[in-house]
């Protein structure tokens, strides 16, 4: 069984996001271990980028904190090599095209496969540009995660047909960030996907509380939560680990 198959076999998946190096890579290392213990089915680990255009202000600030603490792609891979013997939780990277491109996509995917990173999510590489990284992903057994959004409409079939691993379903228009109310567009989107494919669907963008998670898990196979966790990291900094752990437990419980 692959890591991503493992992610979605344990009921509905809870997928927390953190930015690597926020506030430091030592804390990231502990967060990975503790979130895994708290029930995270897949951890989405952000590689910080100077200009994260798909992010709202909370994750933008996390990117700045991570870069100011000296985080680099190489140091993130080193951290993963340290964490791996102790923890086998599935991990996916979330980053932008340029950090992968400038690192060299071949070397990047090779390092991913060596450090147990099973997937990469690159929001500024849409379906049309997938060949930028897909050949290297295939070569090293790393899934390139496709995204669908409320504007995808007729594109959903095309994207879902080719998608591997899971489908990242963007809940609403705009950038990442906590939303009090999220429309039900995504529910219709997932129904359309399920008509043509049995690929797992995870909903992200805006989800922060257990009720929202529970609501979307009625139709989806999991939920992704970023800004709400990053806010806890921002608030407690070096002392954030127990608070994040508690939050992850609460969210996972809600969707069991």
């Amino acid at each position: 069984m692959t890591d991503l198959e493992r992610t979605f076999k344990n009921g509905k998946a809870f997928i927390p996001f953190i930015t690597a190096g926020d506030p430091s890579l030592e804390i990231t290392e502990r967060l990975i271990i503790e979130m895994a213990e708290a029930g995270a089915d897949l951890i989405e680990l952000g590689i910080p980028f100077s200009d994260p255009v798909a992010e709202g202000s909370v994750i933008q600030q996390a990117n700045i904190r991570a870069l100011s603490s000296g985080t680099t792609t190489d140091k993130i891979f080193e951290m993963l090599r340290r964490v791996r013997p102790a923890c086998d939780v599935p991990i996916a990277f979330m980053t932008y095209a340029n950090p992968v491109f400038s690192y060299g996509p071949e070397k990047f995917m090779k390092n991913c496969s060596e450090t147990g990173v099973c997937a990469v999510i690159v929001p500024d590489v849409p379906y049309e540009e997938r060949d930028e990284f897909l050949p290297y992903c295939r070569k090293y057994g790393v899934e390139l995660i496709h995204m669908i959004s409320p504007t995808s409409n007729e594109r959903i079939r095309m994207i879902a047909r080719d998608a591997g691993g899971f489908l990242y379903c963007v809940s609403s228009l705009g950038v990442t960030g906590i939303r009090e109310r999220i429309g039900d567009d995504v529910i219709e989107m997932i129904k359309l996907v399920k008509e043509i494919s049995d690929i797992p669907c995870a909903v992200g963008f805006g989800i922060s509380d257990p009720e929202q998670a529970k609501h979307f898990c009625k139709v989806s196979d999991g939920v992704i939560v970023g800004s709400a966790i990053v806010k806890i990291v921002e608030q407690y900094r070096e002392n954030c680990v127990p608070y994040v752990k508690e939050y992850v437990m609460k969210m996972k419980q809600a969707i069991l």
């Binding site: 980028f49 100077s50 200009d51 255009v53 798909a54 709202g56 202000s57 933008q60 870069l67 680099t72 792609t73 190489d74 932008y96 095209a97 340029n98 950090p99 992968v100 491109f101 400038s102 690192y103 929001p123 500024d124 590489v125 849409p126 379906y127 049309e128 540009e129 930028e132 995204m147 669908i148 959004s149 409320p150 504007t151 995808s152 409409n153 594109r155 994207i159 963007v170 228009l173 705009g174 950038v175």
Partner: protein
Amino acid sequence: MPTGRFGVHGGQYVPETLMKALIELEQAYIRSQNDPRFQAELDYLLKNYAGRPSLLYYAEKMTSELGGAKIYLKREDLNHTGSHKINNVLGQALLAKYMGKKRVIAETGAGQHGVATATAAALLGLECDIYMGREDTERQALNVYRMELLGARVHPVDSGTKTLKDAVNETLREWTRCIDTTHYVIGSVMGPHPFPTIVRDFQSIIGREVKKQITELEGRLPDVLLACIGGGSNAIGLFYDFIKDRSVRLIGCEAAGKGVDTFETAATMTVGKLGIFHGMKSYFCQDEYGQIAPVYSISAGLDYPGVGPEHAYLKDIGRAEYVAVTDDEAVNAFEYLSKVEGIIPAVESAHAVAYAMKLAPRMDNDKIIVINLSGRGDKDVAAIARYRGVRIHD
């Protein structure tokens, strides 16, 4: 070449949410090209509202002072709103209207593109929001007020380096929020396909006019075309119609800031490397891990870490040359053109003037240089005074 590619450059590297809008825009643009009503309306506005064709002026005093090639100035500074930006903005705003959009948004650096967008929005009855780096709102305060006078809302951007790059980030973010009602009027030949092509087409009127005008005046094509380049819209506008005329040298003048050997530079072609950012593959100033570099130039309009994909391609194939011009050289040229020709150029355009001052004396006096005077310099007077340590009250 595949659609939207210029060699390896270009493409559509944007979040999925924006793809629908880009596809619709491309379709609407193709329709507009074959729509005589659209073309007639645009031609009318360019002529009667923007003041086209702009003059091609023989800078006789400058020519004799420098003692070399004959220098012509393409007077885009005389357009309504004071720069070449109006050419693109009228086209895109009209396109937005034909697409049924109610609102336009735009980034701006120096404020020229913001002013032009606000102007077109006022004219065509569209709502308008402009995103501008906080630092730029301070160094171009007058343009902020100008945009507000025109009915636009100006949003200072506090993220990152608080300049043009961050204004683009914020406008892209805003676009993902309101994609159904809003058109993003990108100000340069950058961003995802189809923007580099659309903006180039709307700006290429500059070069077409120059070709006609210089043929009438001199009976032949020029030897050198000079234009400043940030994203590259006025440069491609001038170059495009001459790309197939191999005898014409095309030279883009980018902002070296305090020097290409310092970190305070925006000379993408000189110090940048291949990357993917702001929707396109092109050259970018960046560090070894692909983090986009904070760039610097005295000119807010050239203070951008990337360059349009078609320029990157013209560089790759050796059809165009790109040189770097420092703040000091640009400010000297700003003062020089003011004194010698009585024309105060935008500090952006002064980069091209500065290179002409180096190049013209080394050329024979039967050679011809055309400089794109992309904008007027009123907006820069206060900043140049500060640069010279002169205290004035605005």
